[in-house]
């Protein structure tokens, strides 16, 4: 009976578990520190389990609709409403669960790492509460089917994120980064809300399916599209709106940085959802596709060239995060640019999209792993400056192994997961435009070059006298990194299975606007 209830309310539980966990965390923390750590881990694990169950449910029996406040969750349209679904509806399709499972895995690994890694910090009760709230924001953004609800979760995500970035004040530097992040995301969020208002004014609806169904693509819709597209692209860190990314990523505690990567990807999900589900058939594919492709190529190239001269290891990795976001934009942008052409879509468009989406989950894993290793280094050596570090490989062997795995994966070296998704992107983009594919490969080479530098200056060289007392990090931190490293290898060795199981359904769900609308409104809309 209880299992039936759980299965019925999975989308609500996905949010309720981390939210309740977040609210109770400070209370549990009053009682005992150990208890709070166990509690946070438990909540994070429970959220992961719910996400896994939901993934299984959606992938086996199709899109799940959850109507809040209705008699039964599946009844989206009340009988006396004249066919309008005015309640808040969660529309969880294959794309949503794909993002949710990726966020939950990283969330769990980050929590595990953070238990030991951030133990020196003060104010840990609120730290963990905010971490769980950020997870609520991310999961809500990817699951909701309501535009205003999307905005609310976007704000939860940004506010929790900004507070976490600033949590280690660090002589004011971290607060400066937090301020920049908060101001930009709030401005972006308000423009998103303005676009939502434009939709409401025209269609008297907030539900994405309803808006998509009655989309006219008039002038106001075009303005709304630009506001949503640019604001969410800024939140996901696309060049030339990426300036906040290195600041925020480098000053946040490492566990938070690994999670911020997922938070940015939730905004990227927003871009894709808006373009494919809200507009889709009405769009001028070539224009929007090329705008996304140009943003992607700029992100790839400028991100990686800015990374090469960096001296702070986390700032360097942050620029790489910008650069990798470019691959996702490029892959999905190519898919969008040929969306109207069925022959080209079959030939390479679908593969490009799958490559771009596959890169999202791969990036969450290996970039999370890399930021966690940077955190482990900072935990032991007390500095992130590459000019000061050196010779740590003698003592921190496990951290070094995890770093190598992450670095090879991000550079696209087989058999790690970065290679699988990059290969899909290279080959499909080559059919679209060879020059773009060549740029992507050059960026990969530069990525490898810059990680060779990081590897050499952190781990290689003789044992330095200033790091005499450095030992391997505590087991919890190793476990957090280990989970991600294991997934990096698994996804790299069995890419086709992952693509078949998660990625193809997600790409199909994204492209197929009709079934998204039909899932909410019913019938053959």
């Amino acid at each position: 009976m209880i299992t039936g209830w759980i299965m019925e309310n999975l989308p609500a539980l996905l949010l309720a578990v981390p939210m309740l966990g977040a609210i109770l965390t400070p209370l549990v923390g009053k009682v005992s520190e150990k208890g709070r750590n166990a509690w946070v881990l438990l909540v994070s694990l429970a959220a992961l389990c719910v996400a896994a169950l939901l993934t299984n449910e959606v992938l086996s029996s199709g899109t799940v609709i959850y109507t809040f406040g209705a008699g039964t969750p599946a009844s989206a349209i009340p009988a006396d409403s004249g066919g309008l679904p005015f309640r808040i509806i969660f529309t969880v399709d294959a794309m949503s669960v794909f993002m949710a499972i990726s966020a939950s895995i990283v969330g769990f690994a980050v929590t595990l790492f953070s238990i030991a890694g951030d133990s020196k910090m003060s104010g840990k009760d609120s730290f963990y509460a905010l971490l769980l709230l950020m997870q609520v924001g991310i999961l809500g953004m990817v699951c909701t089917g309501d535009m205003f609800n999307f905005f609310v979760f976007l704000e939860i995500n940004s506010l929790a994120g900004a507070a976490l970035v600033a949590s280690r004040v660090d002589k004011g530097y971290a607060v400066e980064a937090g301020l920049k992040y908060a101001v930009l995301s709030t401005l972006g969020g308000l423009l998103v809300l303005f676009a939502v208002g434009l939709f409401y004014g025209q269609y008297d609806a907030l539900n994405m399916a309803v808006i998509a169904d009655s989309m006219q693509f008039g002038v106001l819709d075009k303005i709304a599209l630009v506001l949503l597209l640019v604001a969410l692209a800024m939140k996901s860190g696309a060049v030339p709106m990426h300036f906040w990314t290195p600041d925020a990523y480098s000053m946040a505690p490492s566990s938070v940085t690994a999670f911020l990567v997922v938070a940015s990807q939730a905004s990227l999900y927003g871009v894709f959802r808006v373009v494919f589900t809200l507009y889709n058939v009405t769009l001028d594919y070539a224009t929007i596709g090329w705008i996304i492709i140009i943003l992607g190529v700029l992100s790839m190239f400028i991100g990686v060239t800015m990374a090469i001269p960096q001296k702070d290891v986390k700032r360097l990795m942050a620029y790489h995060a910008v650069s990798q976001t470019g691959y996702m934009l490029l892959g999905v942008g190519v898919g969008l640019a040929v969306l109207g052409n069925a022959a080209m879509m079959d030939a390479f468009g679908m593969t490009a999209m799958e490559g771009g989406l596959f890169h999202i989950i791969n990036h969450a894993m290996y970039k999370g792993l890399l930021f966690l290793t940077a955190g482990a280094i900072f935990y032991q050596a007390g500095t992130r400056n590459l000019n000061k570090l050196g010779g740590l490989g003698h003592e921190m062997k496990w951290t070094m192994v995890f770093f190598i795995i992450g670095a090879l994966a991000i550079a696209g070296i087989p058999p790690f997961n970065g290679f699988a998704s990059k290969l899909m992107i290279y080959e499909s983009v080559f059919m679209f435009s060879p020059i773009l594919s060549i740029i992507a490969m050059v960026v990969s080479i530069l990525t490898l070059a810059s990680f060779v530098k990081v590897f050499h200056s952190m781990f290689m060289g003789p044992k330095l006298p200033e790091y005499e007392g450095v030992r391997e990090v505590p087991r919890y931190m190793l476990a957090g990194m280990g989970i991600l490293a294991l997934l990096v290898i698994l996804f790299g060795v069995f890419p086709q299975q992952v693509v078949d199981f998660l990625i193809t359904p997600a790409a199909t769900a994204l492209v197929d606007q009709g079934s998204y609308i039909a899932a909410v409104l019913g019938g053959g809309a």
Partner: protein
């Protein structure tokens, strides 16, 4: 025409807020600009829900006539709450920056760069 006035006012407030954010040098004024943008968006939202001669959607002792659909009002209230939280967070950031850096000039608080 007269019914478009709220929209024009909302647009003006948003533009004033944005101009303030990019021209003022004091961090507190930038936060104020952001608050203005938020007020403008709120006004815009409320204005979209206006119906001529509409009455409040309260069924008890209702005088009859067309009722407005209270979605936008609910949205605005939500956004006001979010806005308060954001502004409070931002101002506390500015406070800490002033304590640590000794200045709230936006040109002098850009220490993370390159």
């Amino acid at each position: 025409m007269i019914y478009n006035l709220p929209f024009i006012a909302a647009g003006l407030i948003i533009i004033i807020g944005i101009v303030m954010m990019v021209t003022k040098k004091n961090l507190i004024r930038i936060v104020m600009g952001l608050a203005l943008v938020e007020a403008g968006v709120n006004l815009f939202l409320v204005a979209t829900g206006y119906i001529e001669n509409g009455i409040a959607p309260i069924f008890t002792n209702s005088p009859g006539g067309e009722m407005v659909f209270p979605t936008v009002q609910a949205m605005t209230l939500t956004n006001i709450v979010i806005g308060i939280a954001t502004t409070a967070l931002l101002l506390s950031f500015v406070m800490i920056i002033y304590k640590k850096y000794g200045t709230v000039d936006v040109d002098k608080t850009g220490r993370l760069k390159g």
